[in-house]
Each structure stands twice: as C-alpha cells, then as structure tokens.
C-alpha cells in the first residue's frame, strides 16, 4: 500500500463516513455550476446572435454612370477589393443586375418603371467584411477612386449596432465574473463547514506528527472528487437543457436564426469541470489552513 493509495482510501473513507456533508457539498457544487453553466451558454448564444447582427454591416460602392466604367476597370477593381485582408466577399452588381432587382421590387406595379428610358442605375460592389469593426477603414479606401461615385455603409446604423453589442458583451462579462465569485464563496463555505466538523481529527493528526501536506492530501482529493462529480452532473444538465431550449426557440421564432451550434459543447464541459475541480481542491486546501495551526 503506497502513499497515494493510503490518501485515496482516507479520502473516500471520509466521504462515505461524512455522507451528509458530502451530499451537501455535491448539491452546492451542482447548483452553483448549473447557474454558471447556464449563464455561459446564454453568453455564447447571445454572442453568436450579436455577431450575426454585426455581419449585416455591409459596404455598397456605387460606380460612376457618365461614363460607365469599362468591364476591364470593374474586374480590376474586383480583384483589388478581394486582395484586401479584411474583405470576406465582394459581389459585383452590374447596371443590368441593378435594374433587374428594381423590377423585382416593383413587380406588382411595373408601370412605374415604364417611364424609364435606357438604364440610369449605377453598377455597384457589395462588400462584406470578415471583421465588421473594420468597416470605416475599408470604406475610406474608396475615397478618391476615379470610377467610384459614392460609398454607402450606413455609418450611423453600424456605429449604433457596435455600441449596443459591445455594451451587451461587457454586461455579460461582469455578470459571469460576479456569478463565478458567488460560486466560489458558496462552494468553499460548504467545504469549510465540512472541515470544521473534523477539526478535532485534524488536530490529533498533527499531534501524532503528520505534516501539513500529509493531512491535506486526502482533503484535496475529496474536494477534487466533489467538484468533479458535481460539475459533471451540472454540465450534463446545462447542455441538455440548452439543446432543448434552443430547439423550442427555433420552433417558435423561425425568422430568427438561433445558432444551436453557437455553444461549443466540449469547451463548456471542460470549463465547468475545471471550475468545479479547481474550486473543490482549492476550497479544501485553503479551508483546512486554519485548522493546521496546532
């Protein structure tokens, strides 16, 4: 029987003996991590929605009409736009395409377009970006281009969207931090209670000549076990609940694309397990410190 198996035996022996405390600690860890995990899932989903909104920011570059740019000029420009690293895609809309779209928009009363002679509409590029925040910089590059008539990217709307989304992100981060602190306090407090009940035991161990770490290891193992099991149960509940709820929301709001895959299941599980294990181990190790001064 080596040292490690002795510690394991001690740890699981006292988990069983103090089963009431074990259950209390497990429930505390479980509930705290369910709440934390719920918020984490909410943040991921919200973030994906925010990103979707941001993706709607697009630059429309209208080209000159008198004279119209030559096909060589437009294809050269298309190549140039696509060479910029910020650009995700660029679609050339020719004069004919533009007119076609207009006809499509007014197909219920086509007589409005009857008065048109020729095609007065400009050709354009519709540029969408990898990082929507770079919209200002990219739009500025079209200034002074001889074949560009005007650049339109809804600056005010874009700015408004960005300020709202960044505020929302900050709020969510603060929320997560607060909840993390609450979870840490709650769990370490429960663990401290269970240690307090074994104060005498720790004192005797010290008097017999045990070093601090000799006493601490079984407690840390207990903490890791409680943290891991509580967090694992919580992770299962959170993720099952998430896919259920997202399914319901999708059914109820078909026009709003709620990304079900917004939540990285593996990452969230790892985060929750890590939080549980670390808080469990640290809670035991630190909670014990007071009683080790014998």
């Amino acid at each position: 029987m080596g040292r490690i198996s002795f510690f394991l035996k001690e740890a699981f022996g006292s988990l069983r003996r103090n089963y009431f405390m074990t259950i209390a600690a497990l429930v505390t860890v479980f509930l705290s991590i369910v709440v934390l995990g719920g918020v984490l899932v909410f943040v991921y989903t919200t973030d994906a929605l925010l990103r979707e909104v941001e993706q709607k920011v697009e630059i429309t570059v209208f080209l000159q009409t008198e004279p119209d740019p030559t096909p060589e000029e437009t294809s050269a420009m298309q190549t140039e736009i696509m060479s910029w690293p910020e650009v995700k895609s660029s679609v050339f809309v020719s004069k004919e395409d533009a007119l076609e779209r207009l006809r499509e928009d007014f197909k219920d009363n086509p007589e409005i377009l009857d008065g048109l002679s020729g095609n007065p509409l400009p050709a354009s590029f519709e540029v969408s970006l990898k990082d929507p925040q770079s919209v200002d910089a990219v739009a500025a590059r079209f200034d002074g281009n001889p074949i560009v008539e005007s650049v339109n990217y809804g600056k005010e709307i874009a700015d408004k969207i960005f300020s709202v989304t960044s505020q929302a992100r900050n709020f969510l981060l603060i929320f997560i931090a607060l909840l993390g602190i609450v979870a840490i306090l709650l769990i370490s407090n429960t663990i401290r209670l269970s240690i307090f009940a074994r104060k005498r035991e720790v004192e005797i161990m010290k008097l017999v000549g045990a070093t601090n770490w000799f006493i601490r290891w079984p407690f840390v193992i207990e903490g890791v076990f409680v943290g891991f099991v509580g967090a694992a149960a919580a992770a299962v509940v959170v993720l099952v609940l998430n896919s259920f709820l997202v399914g319901r929301i999708r059914g109820g709001l078909p026009f709003m694309a709620v990304p079900l895959d917004a939540v990285p299941y593996v990452l969230v599980t790892i985060i929750l397990l890590a939080v549980g294990v670390v808080i469990g181990a640290a809670g035991s190790g630190i909670g014990l410190r007071r009683f080790l001064r014998v």
Partner: protein, 169 residues
C-alpha cells in the same frame, strides 16, 4: 527552552512534525481518531512517518498486544473503556520508540485501579530506556512511584527531587 537538542523558540514550523515524531504524547482525553479502529490509530502514527506498511502493520499489532489489547485491535474507540482507550493512545505514542514520552495527566479521567494499570504500562516503557515525563495531580500515584519529582508553582520550578513524593517540602 530546548527539546531533544532543538531550541523551540527558533524551530521552523515545518520542522515541528518531525520533532513530534520523536516525542510520544499521551493525553488526558486520549485524543484517538474516532473513525479509526484501535489498530488503525496505532498504524496512523507509523504511516505518518512514511514507513513501509508491511513492516509497520506487524509492528502496530505487536505493540497492541504489548499493552494487552491484541484482542480488541479492530474495535473503535467508542467501543472501548476509558482505560482501554488510554492503552491504545499509549501504544500509539510508543510505537515509534521515541526517546521521550510526554503524558499529560494520563490518569486524570480514570478510576484508581485502571490508573494503576496505566502507570505500570508507563513504568515498563520507562524500563526500555524511554524518558517518561508525566504531569499529574494524582497524589497517591506520585507517592507510590517514588521517582524524580519536579514541582511547579505558577510556572516556576519550586522543587526538584530525586526520589520524591507528592507535596513534600
């Protein structure tokens, strides 16, 4: 103040456990681990020092027989009488064969007959060469043992006698 050649005032706190292993301690309230059997209580003092457990199990069993509790090795402290619990705690204190054994009123909670048995046990331990330092208020016991007596009053040594009795002047 120095114990075992080490100055307690300057002793680093992480070294304290190693000093304690060289001092057996017996207390008035036994201080046994209630969730461990008599055998495991004795064994714990050995495991703590990191000794190989095959040999230490044998050692723990031997020492329990020596204090007359071989048949109660698997009993828990709450299944033992006061005298028996004190024997277990003496077995635990002595299992490492420390040069010094400190007994703080070891008979304080026990009746006179049981006390006598405990004193005989301590006497035998003393015979093996271990110094036994015992604090007590038990007049009869001191008078009967006739060993070196150091009397303290308000923390000061007021008497140190080779073969003393209780309350002599």
């Amino acid at each position: 103040m120095a114990v075992g050649g080490r100055d307690l005032a300057t002793l680093r706190s992480w070294k304290v456990p190693y000093l304690r292993r060289n001092i057996g301690c017996v207390f008035q309230d036994f201080k046994l681990l209630t969730n461990k059997t008599a055998f495991d209580n004795v064994l714990y003092a050995l495991v703590v020092t990191g000794q190989a457990t095959g040999a230490s199990k044998k050692k723990a069993a031997e020492i329990l027989s020596l204090v007359g509790l071989g048949h109660k090795a698997s009993s828990y402290p709450n299944e033992l009488s006061g005298g028996e619990q004190q024997r277990v705690s003496i077995a635990r204190a002595f299992v490492n064969h420390p040069p010094l054994l400190i007994a703080d009123e070891p008979t304080g909670n026990l009746d006179p007959d049981t006390s006598m048995g405990i004193m005989q046990l301590l006497y035998r331990i003393n015979k093996t060469g271990t110094t036994v330092l015992m604090a007590t208020h038990d007049r009869e016991m001191v008078d009967r043992m006739r060993r070196r007596v150091i009397a303290l009053d308000a923390g000061k040594v007021v008497r140190d006698q080779k073969r003393g009795g209780y309350g002599e002047d």
